[in-house]
């Protein structure tokens, strides 16, 4: 090796000491520890619930081609079935983005797909069947949030009463169990403080982190006894309707210790941090009360939570579900399931969001994923197997749109029932360019 070859590294090291740090981020709403697709996404992987009497009836990872000049663009090009129905729900890449972890809320199985060997054809690499036993009783693996060399998984429930008390569970990238962190409860705050009279319910749902602040936030939904119940039956069950989370928890990301419990009534679901170097806040939405919440650092350096906008007419219970924050932090897509509508909020002033656009996508809509440049927006339909609408309103699809700055323009759609695939749930983007 020639001496001059040291130069590139050493000079950069010098420059680095004076440079502000910028976090590498994934396309809009994923773990900032992961490589990102800042160019055109090439594939979308859709974690799909198998339906009895349809196709092979199994849960499956469906791959749709998104390559701009491909002859098969907008078509299903691969499908990997996992051998049964598990209440397929959410999925997330590991920190080197070579594997996609996907969970089953009912069976507690976790399927790890290899997406780097051939990004157009994911293959099932490993299945974890021991999540409940590993974790000491956590049930319902939900969010998969990448940490370096590890996966942080939120639970939704527990194996004692199948209610909402649950935990965060950490595995290494090989799929080996590392640790369990139970959510704080009023009886065991684990050193956390309650903000403004919040009562820690121990429930869980999503997890996201703001690394430079060492902040991790979790939200809260409901347990197995509710998410596996028929939706209509649950709405009529007063006791069941009491079993929803109403808190968010601020954690120390490094130590995994809970620090503060916020009262956020009505089941706060997705959590999204912005990317801006000085943006010290996060958004969440509450399913039952239809509010957009801001969790933010105040002038004194303390984190606070407040509702900042209504989503639709809360009295109609539109049931906000997935959200997607633009990479420039200026706009936020919010879907609501019951009215099948997506809404775009101007969140340039996060304390005063304003709705600027809405469009009915279908009779029901759940997930939304936007490209890094925000010019393409994708929607899928399924919420939970027993909560999706019935009959003709049970539309199951992938719908792709182009966002021209003022409206969503139809691109393509795939009817997942017509294709005998099942209920389309979570989307994640893939690209061969990540593995050059």
């Amino acid at each position: 090796m020639k001496r001059r070859e040291f130069g590139g590294m050493a000079v950069s090291a010098l420059a680095l000491t004076a440079m502000p740090f910028s976090v590498s981020a994934d396309e809009t709403c994923q773990s900032p520890y992961m490589p990102m697709i800042t160019g055109h996404e090439e594939y979308v992987y859709i974690w799909t619930l198998g339906v009895e009497g349809m196709g092979d009836e199994q849960d499956k990872m469906v791959t749709v081609d998104l390559r701009p000049n491909s002859d098969t663009r907008g078509q299903v090009i691969n499908s990997v079935s996992v051998g049964g129905r598990n209440e397929a729900h959410h999925a997330g890449f590991n920190s080197d983005r070579r594997y996609l972890w996907a969970g089953g809320l009912d069976t507690n199985r976790i399927f790890i797909f290899d997406v780097h060997s051939d990004p157009s054809k994911p293959s099932l690499h490993k299945t974890i069947d021991s999540f409940v036993k590993d974790s000491g009783g956590c049930v319902g693996p939900h969010t998969f949030f990448a940490l370096p060399g590890r996966m942080m998984i939120t639970g939704l429930s527990n194996d004692e009463d199948h209610g909402g008390r649950t935990a965060l569970v950490e595995y290494n990238d090989d799929g080996e169990y590392v640790a369990t962190y139970w959510m704080p409860t009023a009886d065991d705050m684990q050193g956390a403080v309650a903000a403004d009279g919040a009562v820690a319910d121990g429930y869980g749902y999503d997890v996201r982190a703001l690394i430079r602040k060492n902040i991790m936030l979790t939200s809260s939904f409901t347990g197995w006894s509710n998410y596996m119940m028929d939706f209509g039956q649950m709405l009529g069950d007063a006791e069941a309707m009491k079993r929803f989370g109403g808190t968010m928890v601020q954690w120390d990301l490094h130590t995994r210790q809970p620090k503060k419990v916020f009262s956020v009534p009505g089941a706060p679901l997705e959590v999204r941090f912005p990317w801006g170097p000085n943006a010290n806040y996060a958004f969440s939405t509450t399913a039952l009360t239809s509010k957009l919440w801001l969790i933010y650092e105040d002038d004194a350096g303390e984190w606070q939570a407040k509702a900042v906008a209504d989503i639709g007419n809360p009295a109609d219970i539109p049931l906000p579900v997935d959200i997607s924050l633009a990479a420039d932090d200026q706009t936020l897509w919010i879907n609501s399931f019951m009215d099948g509508t997506t809404r775009l909020f101007d969140v340039s002033d996060p304390h005063n969001p304003k709705q600027i656009y809405e469009k009915k996508i279908a009779s029901q809509v759940n997930m939304v994923s936007q490209s890094w440049d925000g010019e393409r927006v994708y929607y899928t339909s399924s919420l939970l197997g027993n909560w999706d609408k019935k009959g003709a309103d049970d539309a199951q699809y992938l719908k792709a749109y182009k966002w021209n700055g003022s409206e969503l323009v139809d691109d393509f759609e795939i009817d997942f029932y017509e294709a005998q695939l099942g209920r389309a749930h979570l989307m994640r983007f893939g690209s061969a360019a990540l593995y050059s």
Partner: protein, 238 residues
């Protein structure tokens, strides 16, 4: 042309991050109370939080660090385990041509900071070490890593600082199992000029267990030192 003295100057420059002025008197206050080892470093604006108190949290065993055959700067064949077992190690993977400011240079700048600051924390000397392995064995030959390590081994205060093992391998056959075992992703472009990789530093305890993994956003010397101190407390070393 980049010369050895110039590289040494870079090492000295990295001392700018070390809060020497705040560390007069070593790791104990005038009252005899031991200060956190991380206090030898100035807070940096990109890490907008204070590290936790060492020993107040758990560092779980993530996985067993892999063994493997490596070459040291003298060309001597060694195993990773014989180097790492018995000491707390900060293990990093780099290639010397790397120009990605969020890659190897970031790791190396932080490790140089820790190496230099270690002179101020004598407790570290025999218990903690740095291990850096190249993932570019074709270009990072024994001669190359020896040249790279020159500022470290020629440092007049070397005996007061952490030991720093700079290593390479005889080739991909020896290297790949080590990368796989650690989970260090490396993608080689066709031209071989640039090697795409994710920045990682691994904290390995004296028993060979990986206890933490740092990526972008976590390469804060204060945080690394806090974890090292936590492990030293756990192992009864301080």
């Amino acid at each position: 042309m980049f010369t050895k003295p110039a590289l040494a100057a870079i090492v000295l420059a990295s001392l700018g991050a070390v809060a020497l002025a705040l560390w007069l008197g070593g790791p104990r206050s005038s009252l005899g109370e031991r200060r956190p080892m991380s206090s030898v470093f100035e807070p940096s604006e990109e890490f907008q939080f204070d590290p936790p108190q060492p020993g107040t949290y758990a560092l779980h065993r993530i996985k067993t660090a892999p063994n493997g055959n490596v070459l040291d700067i003298d060309g001597k064949a060694r195993t990773l385990s014989e180097i790492t077992l018995g000491k707390i190690s900060l293990v990093s993977f780099v290639y010397l041509n790397c120009g990605d400011i969020n890659g190897c240079p970031l790791a190396m700048a932080t490790l140089f900071d820790i190496h230099d600051a270690s002179m101020l924390v004598p407790e570290l000397r025999d218990k903690v070490q740095l291990v850096t392995l190249s993932f570019d064995p074709e270009r990072d030959t024994v001669e190359a890593i020896e040249a790279f390590a020159y500022p470290v081994i020629s440092d007049g205060n070397a005996d007061k600082k952490l030991e720093w093992h700079v290593l390479t391998t005889s080739g991909q056959a020896e290297l790949q199992p080590i990368l796989n075992g650690y989970g260090q992703a490396v993608d080689r472009s066709k031209d071989q000029e640039n090697i795409s990789h994710l920045l990682r530093i691994f904290l390995v305890d004296g028993a060979g267990q990986i206890r933490n993994i740092y990526g972008l956003g976590l390469i804060d010397p204060r945080l690394l030192m806090t974890d090292v101190e936590t492990l030293m407390m756990e192992e009864g070393l301080i």
